[in-house]
Subunit: 357 residues, 2 copies
């Protein structure tokens, strides 16, 4: 029985993944309706405003949903959002058992739907493939628990930790394939974030392979080159954070949003940037540097996940630019330790991933 | 037939490895004598002055060596060194076939023994497990081809390439197990080399697990703390390189050797250090830093092999100390690229190994 549950839940999770990059601020959800050990219908959440996964699967199953088992990776909703609650649809469809991977961390739901299903004599199994399901929705879980965007820090460096030579040369450290992988990651997250220096030096496009994410720039001077590629091509998706005293100074294209923050101890408070982004509806941020910006993110201890692309090359140089700059920790025991570290080869490069906290 | 040859040659290579750390300046050699597909005797070279592998195996086999096959990972010698040539012993023992992994790169031998064996109607197969055998004796091959020691560069750094914080704190970045692995590496090589700054800051012991290797210090000032652990405990195994103008200034313990070199463009020429070490009989050098010293070794392009131990931690800091310092390359395309990269997990740490050139 257990194995069968895992099998169908993994199917639901695979379906959920089809929504990666489109469902924000919603969670990734997939659902399958199973009768006599056969899948009779499937569904996944495609984007906000469209049907929930369970609703789609039940709709497709029609009367065959009666006495069937529903597998869904997240506890179904019981509240009215843009969509009516899935709970009612499950009850109405005559489902006899619901298998869930995790409770919905949304405090409006958390366990409530499970209780209601049981109140209606529907058997509920919770916790099947929990780890996978939590990882799948790591962005959503962070959002619900901390009311902050999920923060991913990325660096592309030489083996000895350099992202540019002492002359500032940085093209290219990693291979095409690594850079492509990195563009694919941009598709997963709502926004890409860089420091002003990276904009000035690299004039990057900051697009994904399929998507144009929001582009967030941290600039305490607002001294940004108007001719940058992004100002010409994605002005409507740019958000700049600067200090309040400078707000009026901008001569940037109209659609560019500028948020001015009060000066904190180290200039712009990145925690405040995150709060602002969250309230603006940005649920995940892919921080791509440069050295100072990444350093500040680690300093403020607001990074959730880390991607380091390492080219097996030695650059050397005490004045070369290091991947993680700013002040850094003073004592070795204060270094931020990665958890759940994974290593992957991408062509000749090495990708090291992990989580913080 | 081929498979059988590989099987016995791998056995010979395993035997050869027993000499790691003891045979320098000789090569690692193992030998097996095989008759009717059975090993009748084995041998390996233990240390200079003791029997060669072939000699030992033939001696043990006695009259049973007649019409047997000899497997040996390096072409047998045909010249008088400390030992009489193995070639004569092979012929005298009545061996009918010799299987070899590689020719002896020593110009006194290179192919000559193979020819002589064939002149005596002994069948010779060369090239079985060549790659493994060349790797086994990478130190010896470098020695013979370039008349220089084999140079291994080692760093223990955070993921972002730091070996110490901005306050100079460096203990400990990697785990016990990584540091133990590193001590084991010291057992493999003739000498450990550090810069004066590392001696002053870390006061290291620089011993292996089983061996006290030579300790080489690069110091252009000769300003070294007399109370350092190594001066008290291994003065007879210390060699210091300094600039000729300072030679007389030393007040270090008597047995410490000081070599003074003429000042080159960047101070002490490390290439010259290597030449001097080679003529002194040091066939391999394990360079352990710090930042400037490693940087200078890479700059002079004299590193053969690289071991980077990476702790999955973020230190950050533009003033933290980078693993590879000095001037560094100016252009990204000038970075030194590692070949034959291998990745290994050691506890939570990641070891990245590779070759240069």
């Amino acid at each position: 029985m257990k194995e069968r549950d895992i099998y169908f839940m993994e199917k639901a999770i695979r379906l959920a993944k089809k929504g990666v990059g489109s469902v924000s601020p919603n969670p990734l959800v997939g659902a399958v309706v199973v009768k006599n050990n056969k899948i009779i219908s499937e569904g996944f959440h495609k984007k906000p405003g469209l049907a929930h996964a369970e609703a789609e699967a039940l709709e497709k199953a029609g009367i065959y949903a009666q006495k069937a088992v529903l597998y869904v990776n997240l506890e179904p909703c019981c509240h009215f959002g843009r969509m009516p609650p899935c709970l009612d649809k499950i009850i109405k469809a005559g489902i006899k058992r619901v298998v869930i991977a995790t409770k919905d961390p949304n405090p409006k739901v958390y366990g409530r739907s499970i209780k209601k299903l049981r109140d209606h004599n529907i058997e509920v199994t919770n916790g099947v493939c929990r780890d996978k399901a939590e990882k799948l929705n790591e962005v959503f879980f962070k959002n619900m628990k901390e009311k902050l965007p999920f923060v991913v820090a990325k660096a592309a460096q030489t083996l000895d930790g350099k992202i540019a030579t002492s002359l500032g040369r940085s093209k290219w450290i990693t291979t095409d394939k690594s850079r492509n992988f990195s563009r694919k990651l941009r598709d997963k997250y709502d926004a890409v974030l860089i420091g002003a220096e990276t904009l000035r030096k690299d004039n990057p496009k900051l697009n994904g392979l399929k998507k144009k994410p929001y582009k967030i720039i941290i600039s305490s001077s607002l001294d940004l080159p108007k001719n940058s590629y992004i100002f010409k091509n994605s002005a409507d998706k740019i958000i700049i954070f600067t200090l309040s005293k400078l707000k009026t100074k901008s001569n940037l294209p109209k659609p560019v949003k500028i948020f001015a923050l009060k000066e904190a101890k180290k200039g712009i408070s990145l925690k405040q940037v995150l709060r602002k982004l969250y309230s603006y509806g940005i649920m995940s941020v892919f921080v791509e540097g440069g050295s100072y910006t990444l350093g500040r993110f680690f300093e403020e201890k607001i990074v959730d996940k880390v991607y380091f692309f390492i080219a097996p090359k030695i650059c050397g140089g005490e004045n070369s630019i290091t991947s993680v700059g700013a002040a850094g920790v003073k004592k070795i025991e204060k270094c931020l330790k990665l958890q759940k570290v994974k290593i992957k080869k991408i062509d000749e490069d090495i990708l090291i991933r992990g989580y913080l906290k």
